[in-house]
Amino acid sequence: MSIELLYPLVTEAIRRAETLADMGAPGARDAHLEVSLLEEKIAESLPVSDPEGALARRGAVRAAIAARDFGRVRLLSARFLKEAAKSPDLRRDIADLAKQAESAQTARFPRATARYGLPEIQRLGRAFFQQGAPFPIGP
């Protein structure tokens, strides 16, 4: 897909996601996930060195946080940090967003993270997601 197709889509998706979030509507998280997917597609079309490429990479991570898809935040952050080896500003922005996601997760599961630590909570989350059923979760 070209930028000329993706930009109108991401503009509409952002407006929709923000409207739903302002209303506290149940579809807000899905709408943010759609924004994240579109931003990722834009990021694939534009290099890190392009200001709009950097905007799209930050946007993909930011929208994944808003969608509370923290697994996706981790995957995108790792990929974009690797791509941004020569862009210290973007690296810092992505790292800041990843930290913001960790804080959001800690705030969401305060007792569990205090007891088991965030990495263990994330591992359980991944295992839960991958096996597609709640129990049993293996080591």
């Binding site: 109108p8 991401v10 952002i14 209303m23 930050r58 929208a63 808003a66």
Partner: protein, 158 residues
Amino acid sequence: MHPLLPTSTAIEYGHRAAVGLERNGHTPGAALATRFDLEEVEALLHWLSPHPGAVDQLDKNRVTEDAAEAIALAFVHVARGWVARRRAQRGESADWWFHDSEARPVALEVSGIDKGDAGVVADRLRTKVKQVQQGKTANQRAACVVVLSAPAATVATA
């Protein structure tokens, strides 16, 4: 004017600008006081009047924000030839990304209020300029404050 602006979004912006302006007692053809840095020009705003019940269907704050964005998008294109690329998410330092006439990126933060005197506009513009200055990637950065009751649009480059 802005070929990458989705038609549905442009229509929605036009409608909400109409609702916001008429809510403030204006009629189509109203004079818009504009200022771009130090340059002051009077422009005219035209719109299609919404049906009388339209105002009840929309959130008041959202109308103010969208009307401000609609007026800002039109103003910066007419004044400087900036063409919208895309909307940015909240948390970015700017609401909109444009290309100027030489295809260099421009980041624009837009703020809308229903009422406010010159002092309120100046304060808000200062805050928004500071906000947009935090973004490092666009070559040019600007902030626009729109007051619907005037109506007036003020742009300051950062």
